[in-house]
Amino acid sequence: MMWAKIFYAFLALLGGIAYGLFLGGVSRKITARMQNRRGPTIWQNFIDLWKLFRKKTAISHGVMFYLAPMFRLVGGAGTFLLVPIVVGNPYLSNFSFGGDLIVLMYFMVLGCLGMALGAAESGHPHAPIGVTRGLSQMAGYELPFVISVVVLMIADKTTSIEGIVRAQQGGILHWHIFTHPFAAAAAFISLLGMMGSYPFQVVLAPQEIAIGPPTEYSSTFLSYMFSGRSVFAVAKYLLFMNLFLGGASNLLWAFVKTFVIFLWPLFITNVFPRFRLEQSVLFFWTWPSLFGLIDLVRIYLVR
Amino acid sequence: MEILDKLKEKFEILQSQEKRKDLALVGTTEKDLIPLLVYLKEYEGYKTLVMISCVDWIEEGKFELVYNLWNPSKKHNILVKTKIDREAPKFQTIYKIWPQAEAYEREIHEMFGVDFEGNPTQHEELILEDWDDIPPMRRDFDTLKYSMEKFGEREPKSGIIIRKQISEQYDEWRRK
């Protein structure tokens, strides 16, 4: 049974990477249509990934430089494997054991941390600037996200994702997005920061610091980071689906709900200009955190 | 033009002309130039140095430095000129009067070889890195010959552009 579980989780991981790349292509297409142009095919990211994977690599800056893309990939894949896709289905719940929300939040930081170490070793001046910005930005969006997750944990008296999904069963109005709207708002705003979507796009910042942390990364390194980022995005969509949209009863529902969540940062990205770093962090520490606190107080009062 | 009359009283003016309603031209000696610039800046309101340029009068054996000043309140330009010796071109820097003159003087030093005494950065290269010939804006510098020698022929003599394949060129080079 254990081996079968590992096998199915591995299959799901491959599917997650493919789905993430597909969503990336869709986002490029939608962005193009919003800018009144034709845009690349939706399979463009697969082509890019293959090309990057087969390019030559002749750069070395030390051990951490090699390990950082792996950290990124492992961080993304680990997050993905801890989130159940369909709760209750033995083939599609990955390795989600009880009490895993806290482990999960640790795992979500791992990729950023490895990236920070590797980029700092690459020696390019843009990389440490990007890393500093990324870590400060993380300190910004983690606060509202953790508050809203704590609200859900207290409300459902469990730290397991499966428990939270089970608590939302029985109709659309039992979903946490309706029962705890403020906490959901806080989490969905912090999702914008996690995805690096545009008002909070301070890490890559193409106009200022080239592309920030991965400036020195090329070819195969970049392809690992690319797939890590894709699967990490899918993991986050799945997590938000499980926490706020009542989970999924089958694969089709999982696709539909994650696609809806995927559209939210995409549409915000395409219509907004960019914050500076301190504006971005300050924003996360005021409005979304306030929303989260409102629900936290409400939970205590209702109880 | 009253400003020209004023200047004629105070300084030695070799040449003066009213070009347009908003542009006048004054030629003066090497010695009087800096007092004239200071007078224009401090007393007449020509606060801005627009640019410095240099003209090569090769027949006379002179370089002519042209200082272009701008009076923002009267909306009037004035060109102040002086001629210096071409053989050993040397002049006093004016970067203490207008700091932006430093870059213009650096460029003139690079392009014409005029030595501005007291300018701290004029020996640094501005756009010509590792220049190995006489300054290129002098009129006795043959730019076409230099280009042909350094960067190669533009096209074969026949007039029809027949480009050799790169591989043939490698072979030729290897045989040498």
Binding site: A32, Q44, K51, R54 | I127, S147
Partner: protein
């Protein structure tokens, strides 16, 4: 390290084994995912902006601008090259990872164009860098640039765009030409 030390890189980078089972797929993917390093050397870079934005939309061919040479596939020489710029261009080109392609825009890199008698614009680019596609015009319009990129895609698809291999094979020849005009190379070292 002294300031005036010559930093010409003389050792050749190792050759890449090109071919094998995936060769066709590789060429197909490379042709459809050209990332262009955002570096403009002359007046032609003004034509690249409409090419890459909404009006002409080069992204539908799979092309993208990237901000760093490490991730780029294509270097566009957009117009005249002075000696000072040529140093930087060589540096950018060598920092790009193989396979890499060079596209030259306009008349100036071909034979000097209107700057053929200039004292610091080079006359022929292919003495210093291997060029895969030339696009003529002064400057070429975005349509011409797109046509040039279609041609580059065709060359890559059929495996003929091998300027980067020639550069490594004939590095001595290129180095000698570069040394003729770049007297003193004072730049930090880099690996390629």
């Amino acid at each position: 390290m002294g300031k005036d030390k010559n930093y010409f890189l003389n050792e050749k980078p190792e050759k890449m084994t090109y071919g094998g089972v995936f060769r066709k797929i590789n060429d197909w993917a490379r042709a459809r995912s050209l990332w262009v390093v955002a570096y403009g050397t002359g007046c032609g870079s003004i034509e690249l902006r409409p090419t890459f934005t909404s009006r002409f939309d080069a992204e539908r061919l799979g092309m993208r601008m990237v901000g760093t040479p490490r991730q780029a596939d294509v270097l566009i020489i957009s117009g005249y090259l002075t000696v000072k710029t040529l140093k930087r261009v060589i540096r950018v080109y060598e920092q790009m990872q193989s396979p890499k392609y060079v596209v030259a825009l306009g008349a100036c890199p071909i034979n000097g164009g209107m700057y053929y008698d200039s004292y610091n614009a080079i006359n022929r680019l292919d003495l210093y860098l291997p060029v895969d596609v030339w696009i003529t015009g002064c400057m070429p319009r975005p349509e011409a640039i797109l046509a040039g990129f279609k041609r580059l895609q065709g060359l890559i698809d059929s495996g003929k765009a091998d300027g980067w291999k020639k550069y490594i094979e004939n590095l001595d020849w290129y180095r000698e030409n570069q040394r003729k005009i770049i007297k003193n190379w004072r730049m930090p070292n880099y690996n390629w």
